[in-house]
């Protein structure tokens, strides 16, 4: 149980909204939840009809996600999925994919 203080510290950081700083793999882990459809590390299978996200500038992905959330960009499914993530999480995800090749 020697790791308990770490957990307590993480909880404290989470409460202040800066949890990403404490978990270096958070962006990677969150982005992996998108990979089922958008490909491992955002490299979608060519010809699969689903957008690749790897290397897409962060601002562009964030704008798309915001438009899905607001309904400005019509979608069959992404408006429902985007609403499941916090703004901070979407920021991490978009940043992670932007850094992929």
């Amino acid at each position: 149980m020697k790791l308990l203080p770490t957990v307590a510290a993480l909880s404290l950081i989470a409460a202040t909204g800066a949890v990403q700083a404490a978990d270096p793999n958070l962006a990677r882990n969150l982005a992996a939840t998108c990979a089922n459809c958008h490909g491992t590390n955002g490299n979608a299978v060519k010809g699969g009809g689903i957008d690749a996200l790897a290397g897409v500038p962060k601002d562009k992905t964030l704008q798309k996600l915001a438009d899905f959330k607001s309904g400005d960009k019509p979608a069959s499914i992404m408006h429902q999925i985007a609403k499941g993530y916090t703004e901070e999480q979407l920021d991490l995800i978009a940043g992670y994919f932007a850094a992929q090749k």
Binding site: A14, D23, N29, A32, T33, A35, T40, G48, Q80
Partner: protein, 425 residues
């Protein structure tokens, strides 16, 4: 099978590690050890790949799978409907072996000794692990349908609820059925694998009948009170597309079968079909059920949502359909893939002396075809909730299709290509 030859394995690992760095992996790196993954389906294959990728080859991974190739359950209803082939849903494990350096062994695990951290293989011998991931899927509770509790009966009255020979056999039965015959599908009480799957199958068999044997009928014998998934969309498809073909009967639990006459025996009623397709109730796959792991309702494994580690059994993680699900979480291939990533991330933290991430997220997307071209979906996102210690569905997120469409049919096939690559390529 002998204990693993560590030296040989390290050679493969080094090669793949060098390759992995080409794929832009970040993080991890410090974790080391040997992880054994049992079951190469949506959950296990994903775990194996992501452990190798995220550790940049630092963690050795052995995947033990009884079948020579992966065969997908999702899309297999299109094989039953006759518009896809087994080849379309069969994929080699070569990508895991050659690209990611996963040691893939075709065998069955017959015992787990969690105290000694060893597993025993059917072919003989044992293997040690630092962490074990069981992704065994489901096995059937044959005793719930006594007439089916023998191999001959199971070869005649099929489930086709694990893709493989039964998929082919059910297709053959439908092809051999006369025009004017009846196909009945029996659905067990929830929870069961792939909540919308039986209704999708009813649609695709109906689509086949409509085009080829138009006098035939599809009868759905559902043990549940109502359609368990995408209700409005399925019922609309039955009304719009299959008005005189599909008949839905709720509260119709099949308690037994008379194999000779192909008859389903319900509580107060009997139903004779030309092709009888009974999906028996199921539980966690045998190896999980017999390894002394903590079970809920004697059926599903009780896991910790931060790590997928079994409560009370350190070092053993269980993922996929075998677990007791979080609220509203379906037993699906997509979800098993997400469990696999959650487990891989947690295991790499644990193997390098860190706690698992305190904020895991998983999400589900599930497409169902209502005819050969048109599909519908359901989606959900589940975030870890520290108060209940469970991943909880995000309110206001997720949902179902507005209407069936060919566009979603195309996306559904794109989903399959991408998730197969995400787990195996």
């Amino acid at each position: 099978m002998m204990l693993m030859k560590r030296r040989d394995f390290l050679k493969v690992g080094a090669a793949a590690g060098a390759m992995a760095s080409l794929y832009g992996c970040a993080g991890g790196g410090k974790a080391s050890g040997h992880v054994v993954v049992v079951g190469g389906g949506y959950g296990g294959a994903t775990t194996a790949k992501y452990l190798r990728m995220w550790s940049e080859g630092g963690v050795q991974v052995t995947l033990i799978e009884r079948n020579p190739t992966f065969i997908s359950c999702p899309i297999s209803n299109l094989v039953i409907g006759g518009t896809k082939t087994m080849e379309d849903i069969t994929i080699s494990y070569d990508g895991l072996k050659n690209k990611w350096g996963v040691r893939v062994i075709q065998d069955d695990v017959v015992a787990v000794d969690a105290a000694k951290r060893t597993i025993s293989l059917k072919a003989g011998g044992a293997m040690t692990y630092d962490r074990l991931v069981l992704s065994p899927g489901v096995d059937f509770m044959w005793d719930q349908i006594p007439g089916l509790n023998n191999p001959d009966a199971q070869a005649k009255i099929l489930h086709a609820w694990k893709a493989g020979p039964q998929t082919v056999a059910l297709r053959k039965q439908l092809e051999n059925m006369k025009n004017g015959g009846t196909y009945a599908i029996a659905i067990p009480k929830a929870p069961y694998r792939c909540p919308p799957g039986p209704y999708e199958r009813a649609c695709l068999v109906a689509d086949y009948f409509k085009k080829n044997k138009p006098k035939s009928k599809v009868v759905i014998l559902d043990a549940n009170e109502d359609v368990m998934s995408k209700k409005g969309l399925f019922t609309k498809a039955w009304t719009d597309l299959y008005k005189d073909i599909v008949e839905y009967r709720n509260n119709s639990e099949v308690k037994d079968v008379d194999v000779a006459s192909n008859t389903a025996i319900l509580e107060f009623d009997k139903f004779k079909a030309d092709v009888l397709n009974v999906i028996p109730p199921h539980r966690a796959g045998d190896i999980a059920a017999k390894s002394g792991l903590k079970m809920i309702n004697n059926r599903w494994v009780d896991i910790n949502w931060l790590s997928m580690e079994v409560n009370g059994t350190p070092g053993v993680h269980v993922i996929g359909d075998a677990i007791f699900p979080a609220p509203t979480m379906p037993k699906s291939g997509h979800m098993a893939n997400q469990h696999g990533k959650l487990a891989a991330a947690a295991i790499l933290n644990m193997l390098s002396g860190q706690e698992p991430s305190p904020t895991p997220v998983v999400m589900n997307t599930c497409y169902s075809f209502v005819d050969a071209k048109q599909a519908i979906h359901v989606a959900s996102v589940h975030q870890y909730d520290a108060a209940t210690k469970v991943v909880q569905p995000v309110k206001g997120a997720g949902g179902v299709s507005v209407a069936r469409s060919e566009l979603e049919g195309k996306v559904a096939l794109g989903w399959a290509k991408n998730i197969w690559a995400d787990m195996l390529a």
